[in-house]
């Protein structure tokens, strides 16, 4: 049984039909990338999974349970966390407070402290800055914080929306290194990326989304070699 199963979801913004029957699967331990142009519905898909939007049709099954009508905060309790697009850290709170918010749903203080150590080990930059207010971090550090914050919920599935957006090329590599490490330490990942090359390089499997519909699905390597994908998303002419 796949960890996450998205079956034929239709999502609307008012009257705008944004997702027209998206289906996808994520297996335990995988990195799955979702690529596509702007307005294709990548972010909408993630927002639907995370509960911020409700699909009018279709269902989302996580570990055998229908997420159906659950609200975003309830979905977090189920073990899905999301690093939203544009990072959206709490800019007026310190790094530590941001991380505490990540651990909001958890009660076990000892476990939280352990995880904090783990996150600091993963992203040592944050440890140096833990007393600093989030808004004053640089873009790359904010991305780290957003990732760390999501990890503090101890998710089994982590959704990441455009982690490389607006970062210096030199940082993009670092972020993807972190992604791979997080995955290696046991977290399953569903990744939405503009930077298709990187996204497909790290992914086990990939989906291509166009105007609200999945048009292609294959392993990361295969998609990278696919001519259509190369032309449309990798910029190879």
């Amino acid at each position: 049984m796949p960890m996450l199963e998205v079956n034929n979801i239709h999502t609307y913004y008012g009257n705008i039909h944004a997702l027209k029957g998206v289906s996808l699967k994520v297996e335990q331990g995988e990195i799955v990338s979702l690529i596509g142009g702007n307005g294709a519905g990548k972010t909408t898909t993630l927002r639907t999974i995370s509960g911020a939007l409700k699909p009018r049709e279709g269902n989302i099954i996580f570990e055998g349970e229908d997420l159906g009508k659950r609200k975003p905060h309830q979905i977090v309790h189920k073990g899905i966390a999301m690093v939203p697009e544009g990072r959206r850290i709490f800019a007026r709170m310190t790094v530590m407070e941001n991380l505490e918010m990540g651990a909001y749903i958890r009660k076990d203080k000892k476990k939280i402290a352990e995880d904090l150590e783990w996150v600091f080990e993963l992203l040592p930059r944050l440890k140096e800055r833990r007393k600093q207010v989030g808004g004053t971090l640089s873009g790359g550090e904010q991305q780290m914080l957003a990732t760390a914050r999501a990890l503090m919920t101890r998710p089994r599935l982590l959704l990441m929306d455009e982690p490389s957006m607006g970062l210096a090329p030199v940082l993009v590599e670092a972020i993807f290194d972190t992604i791979v490490r997080i995955n290696k330490e046991g977290t399953t990942l569903l990744l939405v990326e503009q930077n298709a090359l990187m996204a497909l390089s790290v992914a086990n499997r990939g989906y291509v989304l166009e105007t609200g519909d999945i048009v292609m699905h294959d392993t990361g390597e295969a998609l990278k070699k696919n001519e259509k994908v190369q032309k449309a998303y990798l910029g190879v002419e």
Partner: protein, 353 residues
């Protein structure tokens, strides 16, 4: 350098400065001539300052409700003045019952705590109900719509409580323990005022601690910064919003009892003026900012208490205290001209663009 200065300044800036300067000059001139005339003694000034601070303390507790709700929903909760009113107009019955049984003067502290608790509970309940009925369904509506339901709710609450308890005035019993004053040198320090100031400071600190250091308080700040991101952390925004209203309501309810210690008459219409003042104070301090609400309230309390005699009397304006509120608002304009986001407000305009 001169060139850039001239480029930056527009006609309207000059006008604004002239207005600001005019207010400043009038205030300073009034102050100087009042002090020179020697009409008031030092004892009088001390007395006014203490009374101003006590009033400011009460405003601060009410202002908390405005500022917390504003922080989280970006809306002015106009019904908050009725939230404030509902506590003391209900608790008066308990107070009178306690007084009739003689318990009030036997155990003043316990009695006041019981009265404050009741007042707090009622205000809290009303705040939560208002949120549930008048605001929650409008979470996604245009910004001004909840403002109108707030006004509607405000009317409804006023006349509901009027219906409950009648339109007369209900006086609180006198508490012997708080009557009288301490003499410090040549000045009198009235016990009530001292108690109110102390209580207000302690309560404000407590509220600040809750907002800054408790888990719920932190969640509250998180929701106020980014509701959706907070939801992604597993924070139930609805619950936190209810908590915010409850906290603001509780502060207003206790504030109501402090207010009643100073002005012991309860009435269904009693919320309007303090509500308006507290709202002004919250804006003055920088709305959405807890220490700002405290500072703004204290400043406003002092202006109201000292202002008419200090600023206007010397100018030869008759019945200066009639213009007390006008003066308070003029000084508000004066402060906002130079600090457009309030005394402690963030400079939001700059970070935008």
């Amino acid at each position: 350098m001169f060139r850039t200065w001239r480029q930056r300044v527009t006609f309207s800036d000059i006008m604004v400065w002239i207005i600001g300067l005019a207010i400043g000059v009038v205030v300073v001139w009034g102050t100087i001539s009042t002090i020179q005339s020697g009409k008031y003694s030092a004892e009088s000034w001390f007395d006014l300052i203490v009374k101003g601070l006590a009033l400011g303390g009460v405003y601060a507790l009410i202002a908390m409700g405005y500022t917390l709700v504003y922080g989280i929903l970006r809306m002015i909760n106009f019904a908050h003045s009725e939230v404030f009113m509902s506590g003391p107009v209900t608790a008066v019955f308990l107070a009178n019952a306690l007084a009739a049984s003689g318990f009030l003067n036997k155990q003043p502290l316990l009695s006041i705590l019981a009265i404050a608790l009741l007042s707090m509970l009622v205000s809290m309940t009303v705040a939560i109900l208002v949120e549930r009925i008048a605001y929650r369904p409008l979470r996604n509506a245009p910004r001004l719509v909840p403002l109108i339901t707030a006004i509607g709710a405000s009317f409804f609450l006023q006349y509901t409580f009027r219906g409950f308890y009648g339109s007369g005035f209900q006086a609180y019993p006198t508490i012997d323990a708080l009557a009288g004053s301490w003499k410090i040198g040549t000045v009198q320090l009235y016990k009530t005022q001292a108690v109110v100031i102390m209580a207000a400071i302690v309560l404000m600190f407590l509220l600040y601690a809750i907002v800054m250091w408790s888990k719920l308080g932190k969640a509250m700040r998180a929701v106020s910064e980014d509701r959706e991101a907070a939801a992604l952390m597993g924070i139930d925004a609805d619950k936190i919003i209810v908590f915010t209203f409850a906290l603001g309501g509780a502060a207003a309810g206790i504030g109501g009892i402090l207010y009643i210690l100073l002005f012991p008459i309860a009435h269904f219409y009693m919320g309007f003026i303090p509500g308006l003042k507290a709202f002004t104070a919250a804006v003055l301090g920088g709305i959405g900012n807890v220490p700002g609400a405290f500072l703004g309230s204290m400043v406003l309390g002092l202006i109201e208490s000292l202002g008419p005699n200090l600023f206007l009397d010397g100018l030869g304006i008759p019945n200066a205290s009639q213009l007390k509120d006008a003066l308070a608002f003029i000084i508000l304009v004066f402060i906002l001209i130079f600090r457009p986001s309030g005394i402690l407000g963030e400079r939001t305009a700059q970070t935008k663009a």
